[in-house]
Amino acid sequence: MKAAVVVFLGTNCQVETKAALEAYGFETKYVDSNTKNLDEFDCIFLSGGFSYGDYLRSGRIAKFTPLVESLYSYVEKQRGVIAGICNGFQILCEAHLLPGALIENDCLKFVCKNTPLELDFNGTKKKINLPVAHREGKYFYRGDVSEFVFLRYLKNPNGSKDNIAGLYDNKKRIMGLMPHPERAFFNENFGFDGREIFKIIKDELKRG
């Protein structure tokens, strides 16, 4: 399976994300913001960081790149899975590939800490811990997205509506989450629960 790890100017979690994907058996490649065709990849990863400095609003400027253009056609063709972590999630929301938006944390500060979460995938619920690290991670939406939510905070760190930490689009081909699974992957001190997220993605891909 082949995964692309997207590197915008200002992205900074690509190394860990790539390492985690490779540990999960993906063949991975970095792609930059000018990439116009993503068809060779089964899975596109938008990793964390501060794309274009997160100026104006997190994820906003990245939206205007050829890469995000090509994400639209990737989705249209139903080619593979797209996953956005942290800044990647913000970009997907700004690009309206996922519903809702991520706005400034209620505490008005950057928050970096390990948080307990409930992972709810295919009907099985599980408690996991993942680190979060963001300033604009409060999820806001209108309408009802509950059936697409797969990750909720058990101790809400940012004021997200309904404790939402991660969700799918309605076809379950695009997923976004604020916590960093790639940071809970290699080291007992931060746990290994991140692997659960990569497993879901792999299962999604197998599902075809």
């Binding site: 906003r60 700004e94 809702g100 938006a101 706005i103 400034e104 008005l108 806001f140 209108r142 004021g159």
Partner: protein
């Protein structure tokens, strides 16, 4: 981009703020502070972002159109934000 001879420059000022159904946490925090400092009981703060910039266009109408595009597509996200043009005038 080809800049035509007939292009004029316009100065634009815009405010982008959260929609009314989105909690304005920053505003609430200033409210609290003013209350604590005994300055204002209930200031009902709303916050937004202010942008001023120059755009070039052939006439005021097309400047307006361009400005609306910039505001709706680049400076704001309609899911959570709204914008208000507070000034647009030709630069001489």
């Amino acid at each position: 981009m080809i800049i035509l001879k007939s292009m004029k420059n316009y100065a634009a000022k815009v405010i982008v703020s959260l929609r009314d159904d989105v909690k304005d946490t920053q505003g609430l925090s200033v409210d609290k502070m003013l209350k604590r400092l005994n300055i204002e009981e209930n200031a009902n703060f709303r916050t937004g972002k202010f942008y001023s910039f120059k755009i070039s266009a052939q006439n005021l109408d097309s400047a307006k159109e361009k400005l609306n595009f910039i505001c709706s597509e680049i400076l704001s996200n309609k899911v959570v934000e709204k914008y208000e043009i507070i000034d647009l005038k030709e630069l001489k």
